[in-house]
């Protein structure tokens, strides 16, 4: 039942949000795309169109090539580690253990703090020390417990670079996947597991044939969320390492910031932002469409 005339009032109330998102999200994205096709690579705006010139330059740029590679390495390490650690911790916590709350809260706590905070701390933890100082931070810890072979230069070593940042990111987000998986595990009907046990399936078989398939949609959702976080990663890199030696911990978002706001190459910066948006969209749009279809 709908009262006539009331039909337009709800639409009126949601209109400000639609207009705001329309302008600040979709309008601004179009505006940035336009800028990326112009010659505005100086302090003074110059809207002469140059076609794909900024994109051509971008992909020819060594720093951008390194950035794409770093993003790929970071995403693989970060997403798979978060999924595996999260699943392991969730399964262990689900075993009706003592102190469940303490473990769960501890693993989730890093989620609450800013990337800048964790970046500052991990920068000092992964500080490799020097000849005068000897080993400090994590290296010193390894030395003390006899794991000397694990000591390394961390983010000061170009061969490690972004991988050190990934460890800090895993510290922050693996608790999140744990929480997701734990919610999923608690959602599996008990009868299902009991039925499997009655049918003679052992724990591993139950896990493989009942639990894992049940957790599939959660894994899918987590990959989307973590994946888009790693494509956008910026704060953590800024606070922890910066671009690093030979750009070994540089990422597109940081390159965009440097290009645009330190170098005043606005059109070039806009082109990086658009590539970044396209990468995120490849991940997010199919996800949004499938969710939307399910509900319609």
């Amino acid at each position: 039942m709908q009262i006539k005339g009331d039909k337009w009032i709800p639409i009126l109330f949601i209109t400000p949000s639609i207009v705001a998102v329309g302008i600040f999200v979709y309008g601004f994205i179009s505006w940035t795309s336009f800028i990326s096709f112009t010659k505005w690579n100086n302090v003074i705006p110059d809207y002469t169109l140059v076609g794909f010139e900024n994109y051509r330059k971008l992909f020819a740029n060594m720093r951008f090539q390194i950035d794409l590679h770093n993003t790929f390495v970071f995403t693989i390490i970060f997403v798979t580690s978060c999924l595996l650690i999260g699943l392991l911790l969730a399964v262990l916590i689900d075993q009706r253990i003592k102190g469940e709350d303490i473990f769960r809260n501890l693993f989730l706590l890093p989620m609450a703090v800013s990337f800048i905070v964790s970046g500052v701390i991990w920068r000092w933890l992964f500080n490799p020390g020097s000849l005068q100082l000897g080993n400090i931070g994590v290296n010193q810890l390894f030395e003390k417990i006899g794991l000397n072979f694990l000591t390394c230069g961390w983010y000061t070593d170009p061969n490690i670079g972004i991988r050190a940042v990934a460890i800090a990111a895993i510290w922050q987000f693996s608790g999140y996947t744990m929480a997701l998986y734990l919610a999923g595990l608690r959602g599996i009907p008990l009868e299902l597991r009991e039925a499997a046990a009655i049918d003679g399936a052992n724990q591993w078989k139950t896990f493989y044939y009942i639990t894992l398939p049940f957790l599939k949609p959660i894994t899918f959702g987590a990959i989307i969320i973590l994946g888009h976080i790693s494509l956008k990663i910026f704060d953590l890199v800024v606070a922890m390492t910066g671009s690093g030696p030979a750009f070994s911990s540089d990422v597109p978002a940081l390159f965009m910031y440097d290009t645009t706001f330190r170098g005043n190459h606005f059109a070039q910066g806009a082109s990086i932002a658009i590539i970044l948006l396209l990468l995120v969209s490849l991940l997010i749009i199919p996800y949004l469409i499938t969710t939307f279809r399910k509900e319609a």
Binding site: L109, I116, G269
Partner: protein, 281 residues
């Protein structure tokens, strides 16, 4: 009581992971407590000999002698930023969620999906036009400008949270009120709003944490130290070569404190917001 080998193994693995999660927090607390005489990078793992809060007070107040700013001013900026931004975006989210669940219209699902996209975009893709627009509106470099930005880009997540919450409120209640002659606002005021406390708790805690922790908007929109939020101030403190590392770490703890307190006292709602960000409907 007998503990089986598997049980023991479970606890051992959990304990090992606990060390990984505790280490940064341990360093943060222990370093902050040490006196300057004890501060040395090669003894960073040692417990402090006595309690001393000098690192915190220097990180908070800064030092004119050594020439660096403390985070106190920025801490207050963040407070003045986060409170209005959180409240306003929760109100928007609540109204939107109400419309999108109880007053659905043709195309409302599509509109919801399009709004939702806004929470995933890399903000780099809107930041140049955003700066130009804020300059035109004369709010660039100001806290009100930053509030505006956080309210607008907070619409997607707060709408999502309230929509997911209002789906659980029986539509029959709304229908019954409609038959009784209540209108759109009346139903919101007398039926929906009184039931909304959990929705507001989740949305506000989520927004509080993410606005407090935001760095990118603060960095680009408020370049002047007088209106910078705390994350930007911490990054400046930590990036300065004249600031000793114990002061940087004390600054990190001060920055982390409000969200950690929220998490410790209202963790249940924090978790709910977290799960809703990915598990829809």
């Amino acid at each position: 009581m007998k503990i089986s080998v598997t049980r023991l193994l479970i606890y051992i693995i959990l304990a090992i992971f606990s060390i990984f999660y505790i280490i940064p927090m341990y360093i943060m607390v222990v370093t902050g407590m040490k006196s300057f005489a004890e501060i040395s990078l090669d003894t960073m793992w040692n417990l402090p000999i006595s309690f001393n809060f000098n690192s915190f007070s220097l990180a908070w107040l800064g030092s004119t002698k050594e020439g660096f700013r403390g985070v106190s001013g920025s801490f207050l900026n963040s407070v003045f930023l986060v409170i209005p931004a959180t409240v306003i975006s929760a109100l928007f989210g609540s109204l939107n969620g109400y419309v999108l669940t109880k007053w659905r219209f043709r195309g409302s699902d599509l509109i919801f999906t399009m709004i939702l996209f806004g929470m995933f975009i890399p903000y780099q893709s809107i930041i140049i036009p955003l700066v130009l627009t804020l300059q035109r509106l004369h709010v660039y470099g100001t806290i009100p400008g930053l509030i505006l930005v956080h309210v607008i880009y907070g619409i997607p997540i707060s709408t999502l949270i309230f929509r997911n919450y209002y789906v659980t409120v029986p539509t029959e209640m709304v229908e019954a009120s409609k038959i009784d002659g209540a209108n759109f606002l009346g139903i919101y005021r007398w039926v929906i709003f009184p039931l909304s406390t959990p929705g507001f708790a989740v949305a506000m805690i989520w927004q509080f944490t993410s606005i407090w922790n935001d760095f990118l908007f603060g960095l680009i929109i408020t370049p002047n130290p007088a209106s910078q939020p705390i994350t930007v101030a911490l990054n400046n403190l930590a990036g300065s070569y004249i600031v000793q590392w114990n002061i940087q770490i004390a600054g990190a703890l001060l920055t982390a404190l409000p969200p950690i307190l929220v998490y410790l006292f209202l963790g249940k709602f924090f978790l709910r917001g977290l799960l809703q960000g990915s598990l829809k409907g």
